[in-house]
């Protein structure tokens, strides 16, 4: 857990102190790299600890046992046994954020920060931290431009000069650290709510990082696009979340034991219950919910709900992993600096979507899986075809990423849980390697366009070599049946499963997956080598740039070399520690085949579309059907070889001229170059109406509301004036009147004092007389009475 929190600490540090660290924050880079390196070390330690724990070893045994067994009841029973066990997992909650309501009528809304750790988590941690550490080193070299004041040549101000601004070195590492924190949090999260929270966090970090050069208009719009498209996917995700919580009452993946020792089942356990031998069943809770909604057939309705939940979650993955139709943001995300592309958009963030599909696999019904596969296929094909025509080196790699993500989704959709996730890991390594190499190239020649490069092999040997390794890895080069680069193994697994799927299903349309996967491999090989040839081989196209080019500094190419080593070896089956075993150990229970009477290993019939059959992944490995595996192997290799040859013809040996081909297929070419017109479509359908509505609202506000307010203000002024009048006339008048009265009374009394003696005497006499009279009267009365 400390591994997760370290990048958070680093982020916090940099946020507050970044400016003061070293000159322009060069130490910020050290802090960030140190943090992520520490996280990596901790991940390795936990990996070792995990491997040593007892439960793990039986998986190995089973793997071997399966191979050596003959046909008969034993493999069946073994398979059943294998199927029935749960993966070793540690799960629990750390901290309850909020809890609304009690458990009386409905489960309380309990938002916790929890964890769910199994082999998959550990593996992801190691991978993410390793790649992140290497990229941090790389970025320290790449971003050295930001240490001092930076003149941005892509931004022109109003008076025509280029923008000059202070460097933002520390800020970059601050965002990187935050990103690592959120990614690791996503991986370790134990419940859906936390996943969603980190999902959004990762999206925000992507926004920051893409829009790092915020003064560039292209960069800021790209960042906006990324975030908004992500958001659209999240909308579907929320629907899925709601469906799940509304019926199941809990967010957490695994079972949680609360303080009373009462185990409340998590999402996975509810969907695949132990009594049912972990088959996919509509959870009783969902059926109950459907009943309460007054459905006619609660069983079926509950099943629909499960489908909705699965589709919703997948929607989020579509957004984040750039599947069709929400793929448009990923190419534009290349506006960010290259380390960002390497880390975020090839290895980690886009992989988060695939990771979630893998994690959530047990909840997906076959119908949903079919949808996933379809989306993956379309994406795969689309990405590959656009990549053929792109000329920006980073764009090619981006479309390659899109295409490979499609591969992963395809694999997951046809039942290849292991294959898809395996490809995720290998792809992470070689794609980040490729991106970093391209970054090195861009840094050398200061341009992204491949049309201006060429013949750089002599000038940048290390980069050329490592990039070659990366290309070979991605196309799946290797010697069949023996050994190969990492991509070889993973792509092999995918194609095998696709073939398996095609064979197991009677519907011929469903075997399209296999064909597309195979064809995609060929196209992948073609465009990757096109890229390599155009960049490193042949004659330089732009003499000036060629002269300027130089090899990158050590801090940049050493990570390249380390990564290339991994790219080659990560898929190998090293005893003791191998990715194979790790992933197998994390396989969710019940998704392998169950024994059916008749010896069929295929399982998982969909209930709604009952013809869908998702076959057992281990099936090809059994001796029974080794044929499938062999066939897949050969197909994969030959397609890759074909693509490689084609690329070499065009670009290596220059036998054929790509320009002619371009003219011949001009309409198709235009279609491809314009990215299948997706951006324009979205612009018309979504962006323009939004602008219209906002203009309307703004007009309303300006003319109607402001009119009201202005008139209110005028009236207030009038009232104020009246008040003033009243105050002055009435109130002051009263006071003045009082004063005047007093004065006049005093004045009139004053006139008594005439100063005339005689009048005084008269008054005396009058007074005397009066007193006399009064006394007389009184006396008379008193005497009389």
């Amino acid at each position: 857990m400390a591994a997760w929190l370290l990048p958070l600490a680093s982020f916090a540090l940099i946020v507050f102190f970044g400016k003061h660290m070293g000159k322009a924050g060069v130490k910020a880079g050290y802090v960030a790299t140190g943090a992520i390196g520490g996280a990596f070390v901790l991940s390795m330690i936990s990996l070792v600890a995990w491997l040593n724990s007892a439960d793990y070893s039986h998986v190995e045994n089973h793997g071997h046992a399966a191979v050596t067994q003959q046909a008969g009841p034993s493999p069946i029973s073994e398979a059943a046994e294998h199927n029935a066990e749960l993966p070793k997992v540690i799960s629990g909650d750390w901290y309850t954020l909020v809890q609304i309501g009690d458990g009386e009528s409905f489960a309380p809304l309990k938002l916790t920060i929890g964890y769910y750790i199994d082999s998959l988590t550990i593996a992801m941690f190691c991978m993410v931290t390793l790649i992140a550490t290497l990229i941090h080193f790389y970025a320290q070299g790449y971003m050295h431009d930001e240490l001092h004041d930076f003149t941005d040549h892509e931004v022109t101000l109003a008076d025509g000069t280029h923008l000059k601004r202070p460097g933002r070195y520390h800020r970059f590492f601050q965002y990187l650290s935050l990103f690592c924190f959120s990614m690791l949090g996503l991986v370790i999260s134990g419940n859906l709510a936390m996943t969603f929270m980190f999902w959004e966090l990762v999206g925000i970090c992507s926004y920051f990082l893409i829009g790092f050069y915020i003064e560039r208009h292209s960069a800021s719009t790209a960042a906006n696009k990324a975030f908004i498209v992500n958001r659209v996917g999240d909308f579907g995700m929320i629907i899925g979340l709601m469906a799940l919580w509304g019926s199941l009452g809990t967010f957490s993946f695994g079972d949680t034991k609360d303080d009373h020792g009462h185990t409340s089942p998590g999402v996975f356990s509810q969907v695949r219950t132990e009594e049912n031998n972990h088959r996919l069943e509509t959870p009783t809770a969902m059926v109950a919910w459907a009943k309460s909604m007054g459905a006619e057939d609660p069983e079926e309705c509950g099943y629909y709900l499960l489908i909705v939940a699965g589709l919703g979650i997948f929607c989020g993955c579509v957004g984040k992993s750039a599947q069709f139709p929400l793929h448009t943001w990923l190419p534009d995300a290349m506006e960010g600096p290259t380390p960002v592309s390497a880390l975020v958009h090839s290895a980690t963030m886009v992989a988060a979507g695939v990771f979630l599909v893998g994690r959530f696999y047990s909840v997906f019904t076959p119908e949903v899986l079919l949808t996933i596969a379809a989306a993956g296929t379309i994406t795969l094909f689309m990405g590959a075809t656009i990549a053929i025509t792109a000329t920006d080196i980073k764009r090619v790699l981006t479309y390659s990423t899109v295409s490979q993500l499609g591969y992963m989704m395809l694999a997951l959709g046809v039942g290849g849980w292991f294959a898809g996730l395996f490809h995720l890991f290998t792809h992470a390594f070689f794609k980040s390697l490729l991106f970093m190499c391209s970054g090195s190239v861009i840094h050398a020649v200061h341009t992204n366009e491949m049309t201006e490069m060429g013949g750089l092999r002599k000038k940048m040997p290390y980069t050329a070599c490592t990039m070659l390794i990366g290309c070979l890895a991605i196309i799946g080069a290797g010697i069949p049946f023996v050994i190969g680069f990492s991509g070889f193994h993973s792509k092999d697994a995918i194609i095998a499963q696709a073939l398996n799927f095609g064979l197991a299903n009677t519907n011929p349309l469903l075997s399209i997956f296999f064909y597309v996967a195979a064809g995609g491999a060929a196209i992948t090989a073609f465009y990757m080598f096109r890229l390599w040839y155009m960049t490193f081989a042949g004659e330089p196209r732009n003499k000036e740039r060629y002269d300027h080019a130089h090899e990158s500094p050590k801090v940049m190419y050493v990570p390249l070399m380390i990564l290339s080593v991994f790219a080659i070896t990560v898929a190998w089956d090293v005893p003791g520690v191998s990715l194979n075993k790790l992933l197998e150990a994390a396989r969710p229970a019940g998704i392998l085949g169950e024994v059916e009477p008749g010896g069929e290993f295929a399982l998982q019939r969909g209930q709604v579309a009952a013809t869908i059959v998702v076959p057992d992944e281990h099936y090809p490995h059994h001796q029974h059907s080794h044929a499938i595996h062999n066939e897949a192997n050969i197909v994969a290799f030959s397609t890759a070889l074909a693509g490689f040859l084609l690329a070499t013809i065009f670009y290596g040996w220059r036998k054929a001229d790509p320009a002619e081909v371009k003219e011949q297929f001009a309409p198709i070419y235009r279609f491809l170059v314009n990215k299948w017109w997706f951006d324009e479509l979205y612009d018309v359908v979504f962006v323009k109406p939004a602008h219209l509505i906002s203009n309307l609202a703004s007009w309303f506000d300006k003319n109607v509301l402001d009119w009201i307010i202005n008139h209110l203000a005028k009236w207030t002024v009038v009232v104020a004036k009246i008040d003033d009048l009243i105050d002055r006339l009435v109130i002051d008048g009263l006071v003045n009147l009082l004063a005047r009265c007093t004065y006049s009374i005093g004045d009139s009394l004053r006139s008594v004092q005439t100063g005339q003696l005689r009048q005084y005497v008269v008054f005396i006499v009058i007074g005397t007389v009066t007193l006399f009279v009064l006394a007389t009267i009184l006396l008379k009365y008193s005497m009389a009475g």
């Binding site: 005439t754 003696l757 005689r758």
Partner: protein, 101 residues
């Protein structure tokens, strides 16, 4: 009957309030004399002697005192009037209105 004289003299108070300066003084003398007559009358043995209301010799004594005091007061008043005349060149009391409010 003697009382009738008293009354009359007091009526002369009116005069005292009307004239100017020395006329005022004369009015005062008249007033005092009227009072004197009254006193004497009360002190006379011809006024119902033996009814207990006679004041005998006291009346005469009082009258004597009144005369003395009247003389004194007349002297002072005269001095004031002469002073007034010296300062204002007139003895019209109507013009002695410095105390006019």
């Amino acid at each position: 009957m003697a009382v009738g004289a008293i009354l009359f003299v007091c009526g002369a108070v009116c005069m005292a309030t009307k004239r100017n300066a020395l006329g005022v003084l004369m009015g005062i003398e008249l007033v005092l004399n009227g009072a004197n007559i009254n006193f004497i009358a009360f002190g006379s043995e011809y006024l119902q002697r033996g009814s207990g209301t006679s004041i005998g010799l006291d009346g005469q004594l009082i009258a004597l005192f009144v005369i003395v005091l009247a003389a004194a007061e007349a002297a002072v008043a005269l001095a004031i009037a002469l002073n007034f005349y010296n300062n204002h060149q007139t003895i019209d009391v109507d013009q002695a209105d410095d105390l006019h409010g």
